[in-house]
Each structure stands twice: as structure tokens, then as C-alpha cells.
Amino acid sequence: MVQPRKPKLAVWKFASCDGCQLSLLDCEDELLAVAGAVDIANFPEASRAVAKGPYDLSLVEGSITTPHDAERIHKIRRNSKYLITIGACATAGGIQALRNFQDVREFISIVYAHPEYIESLKKSTPIAEHVFVDFELRGCPINKMQLVEVISAFLNGRNPNTPRHSVCMECKMRGAVCVMTARGIPCLGPVTQAGCGALCPAYNRGCYGCFGPMETPNTPSLSKWWKKLGANDPDLVRAFRGFNAYAEEFRRESEAHEVR
């Protein structure tokens, strides 16, 4: 009997910290099992060996910030049956998307006296602004168990189970006391997508939005609550301009509080 071909997995990096692909190597208990179930065809952080495409599943980390990368992502898309972005950089532009809010010409004049040495686009953009993306896995960093879930979902032809509700739900599920109502600590949990397990509230601090906006977040209402707790407009701008600053709902809310 012919053995079924193992699906080919590829991991690609754009502008990022490497943390999301490291999540795969951090699956210490699952790594050898995953490596047994798939053919790791391109994963430079882990292996010298590279197999040619096409690939069954491409995991893409990082945002597009250079003209070269804006081309490279199209080649990857053409060579991939499914393309999944992993993390806040690939999904929302990442922390480096803070450049998108600067006066770009002024910014470039500070940084680049000799632009011929370094090529950089004016904006840091998510992968989905360039090519079709089959699934976006959120988080800064991603949750490694969600990564295992998404990989196995795609390899088995089903939808991944990654909830889009808010961090508040996770607080309730783990029995964490609400830091906002009980302790008056401003928290982005009510508008941030679940996925981390409500880590920050469990450690007595407010959520700072690693997983980006939840489905239909009510950011203006949350901003009003923050102001009742003493936050001012610059505080709100900084809060929404974090690792998912360029995600649409967070971007709109930060712009609403910008002092012009």
C-alpha cells in the first residue's frame, strides 16, 4: 500500500521578533509529534534543509516593511495551498506599525540621511493587505496551544476553534477578579480578543491588548470608563497604540483621542 504523502509545512519570517515561530519550538512536548506528522519543508530558524514548494501549509510571521518583502509575500502565496499569519505583526502590522502614525517625511529625515543603504516602506502593514490570508492567528506572542490547534485544524480540513470573544470572558472562566471594578486599574480586556487566558488581570495588572480587537468591540465606551478612572487622552492614545496599533478598531480609537 502506498503511504499517504505527509503534508508540507513551511515557516516564513518578515519584520518581527521571531517569538511567534519560536512558539513552535517551545512546544517541547508536542514538537517531535508535530515533526512526525508533517514534512517540515522550510523553517530556517530550525533547519538548514529546504524543500521546494508548493507547500500545503505556510505559517507567516512578521509584517511587510520593505519593497522586497512586499514582492516576496506574493511568491509565498503562490506556493502555498493554505497561508496562515501568526502573531500581531503579520496580522496587524505589529509594534513597528507605530511608524504609520508619524509624519513620515519628518520621521525619515531623522532616520535616513542615506536612504540608498536601507530600504523601508512608509508603513508597516499586515500580510492580508498584500495577499489573501486563509486564517489569522492573533497574539503578541501567539498562544502556542492555539497554534497547535490551528495547524491540526487545517491539516484535517476543519475550522480552527479560536474564540473571538473578549478577555473578560477568560477572566470569568479562570475566576479572576475584575481589576477595573475591584481595584480601579484601567484594562483593555473588555475590547481585546481572548487567547492569552486573561494573564494580566490574573497578575494584578490591566490587559494591554496583545491579542488585538475582539469581534465588534465597543472602544468608545471603554475609553469613557478609562477617563472615569483618571486616564487622559494621551494615556488612551498610548493604550490603543500598542502591539496592535494598526488594527482598524484600535487605530480609530487612538485617533479619536489624539490632540491636534
Partner: protein, 451 residues
Amino acid sequence: MKSGKKKKKTKNNNGNRRRRIKVNYMARVEGEGGLDIRIRNDRVTDVKLRIFEPPRFFEAFLRDRMFTEAPDITARICGICPIAYQMSSVHAMENALGLSIGGPIRELRRLIYCGEWIESHVLHVAMLHAPDFLGYQDAIAMAKDHPDIVKNALQLKKIGNDLVTLLGGREIHPINVRVGGFYRVPAKSEFKEIREKLNWALETAVGMVRWTGTLPFPDFEQDYVFVSLRHPQEYPFCEGRLVSNNGLDIAIDEFPQHFEESHVEHSTSLHCLKKDSGNYFVGPQARYSLNFDRLTPLAQEEALKAGLAKTCRNPFQSIIVRCVETLWAVQEAIRIIDNYEMPDSPAVELEPRAATGHGCSEAPRGILYHRYRINDQGLIEDAEIIPPTSQNQATIENDLREMIPKFIHLEDEKLKWQCEQAVRNYDPCISCSCHFLRLNLDRDGAVVSLP
């Protein structure tokens, strides 16, 4: 084999032999870099560690952020060593505010750093570096022939991650570190489970030192300038003086007077050089060679038994040094946990003031320097970050220039792999090294500095 790699061996009209070794995309390192080496008549004429990791401009967008945000933001420079960024930034901010934190909070900071060293070192030793010595493309292929080594390493790495997770909330970009301390400190009882695992970790770490001591090492020693922190009593993490084996002995805040960055065309990461003596070497091998007497007796004994001298000048042996430091970190973690008493408060309250602060800590890959100027509102006005890999770049290139003649007889494919291994000796973290704002441009010998 890796696609996109080119090798050329040509003869020109004069009978000169030209070879070009090109690695378009370095594997088993963190971040995006390549290697370009030119050889003519068996002489190395050019070596370039090309770094094309796109710059992300951290120093630029740190401006106008609150001083309290620096540990969370700078952690995102590197997913492999976020604790290093958090530790250097909190120490720099506390330095600006005239604060020095001792007691259990200081011990917990050392403990979370132990976790990161264990996780990062074991990742590099077993997953990224060991396959070179044994001729495998990766650790997964290596695991088929050496299953126990890879499985034990993964479990040891996991214990490092468990320490970071227990104290930091998660292993990558932990959320619990803040300027002044932590958001939440654990009760002593929370260490019970990990304390038991650390006994196994100690045994396994000793085994790894012994195993790496048996690997084949090329005969290659260099007369390096090592730079690291040195503390009066401890193996260094976040405090002490910056010292070298050629006479440097300065306080952390004197760093800018003794080191300078320059920009070369082939790298989006600045090269950092010592002003009086040029290129230098930071990381485990430098720490070990400058602080051997600060290791525990067991770590010293195992190091010598594994074949290391008290000063290690062979960069290929860095794999043993990483295991020795892992062993030390496991022992240090045990010491801290056994002596731990929960502090009354998880953090010291802070009032911002206009000041400049410097911080330097020993990231797994070497010294990581941060400088911040903040105003009386606590907003960052200016930031400078110098990661270990930008400090080692010039030394890596130098190693290649010195090493290649010894291996010039190898065919191109083998020589290329040998060169890759020499780069991986440094565990370069390219994601880290590339995020500058200031630009020093060196062209035809004329250096242009820009703010």
C-alpha cells in the same frame, strides 16, 4: 540542499582561482542574515555577514512613551530573550530614578533570568548548534539517531520556560516584570513543583556539559578581547562593572565613552566597537572567561573535566560554555528558591523625574546596554539600545577571515557549512541586532554620524 545558494569556482585569464561562498539565508539563527565570502588564490579577500533583517526603529517610537512602558515594548525586540530587554530597561529606568532594588525582588529577577538563560542556551545548544557538530541538517533529524539527547534537552529547555512562565505569566513576552519590581510575586508554596523538577534539571545539565565535551572541536583559538559584566560576589546578571581582559574596568553608565557604533553598507545592524581596541567579544564565552571564579564549585569542576580551560579561546567550544552556564543557572535557581521569602510588596512605588539612566544586563548572548532620557512627566525623550549581536558582528567576520585558510582544502559545500557553524558559535540574534535609530555611515573611510 538549501535552494538559492550559489557556489562559483572560476579561473580567469591569469590562471587565478576565484571562489565565492555564498549563503543567501543563514539557517538556525534568529533573524534574517546571510554570508558572503570571496576567496582568491586560496586567500580570503572579503568576508561579509550580511544582515537584511528589516529595521523596526524601536528607539524612534520609544520617544513619548511612558517610562513604565519600556519593559513591555523593548521585550518585543526579541522573542528569544525578552527577559534580557525587560531587565536592562527596568535597571536603566531605576538608575534614572536613583533607585536600587534589593531583597527578594532582586532575587526573583535573577530567578526569571535563570529561566531565560536555561531556555535560550538549551535551545541553541541542542536545536541549533549541536546538529553542526554531528552533521545533521536539524535537531529533528538528529533526534532519530540521538533520541535521548534531544528529548532530555527539550525537557530541560521546558524547565527554563516553566521558570519564566511561573514568574512572568508566559514564556515569550512575559507580562509580570515592571519598573520597580513585579505586578505580582509568588508565594513560596508556588515553587514546590518546579523545585522538584530542578533536581532532574541539575543532573541533566551535568550530563549535557559532559556530552558536549565529547564533540569534535576544530583546533582554532583566537586572542579575543572579552567584555562582560563582573560583580564583586556573583556570576553576573544585571549589576557590576563592565570589564575586559585588556584593561577595561568601568561603571555601566560610562559605556558610551568607551564604545561606539558604526554603520556598514552590508548590514541593517550597527557594528559596535571598543574605541581603543576595535572589535570585541561578548556572550557566554566572555562571561565565563572573565568570571570563572564566580561559578559554583560544581560548574567549575564540570567545565574543567569537559576539557575547558579557565579562559576559553576556541569559539567552537562555546557549546560547552553554554552548558556550563546552564548548569550554573539551574544551581542558582535552586539556591534562590530554597532561600525565598515572599516580600511584603511586589514593587517599589516610583515617581518620575527628569533624568538619564543607564542599564546593562547579561542577555544569553552577551551584554545588552540601554540608555533612556526621561522628563519629569515620565515620558521618554531619547533611547539607545545596543544588543549583543551588533557587538559581536565584527568579531564574527574576523573569525571567518582567520578560520577559512585552515579549511581552504574543503570542497565548497563543506566549507560553506563550516562557515555557517562558525557564525552559529555566536548564537547570533539578528532580530535583536537590527532596530537602530542613529546612523553612523562609513564610506571610503569618512565616518558620518547622525543623531
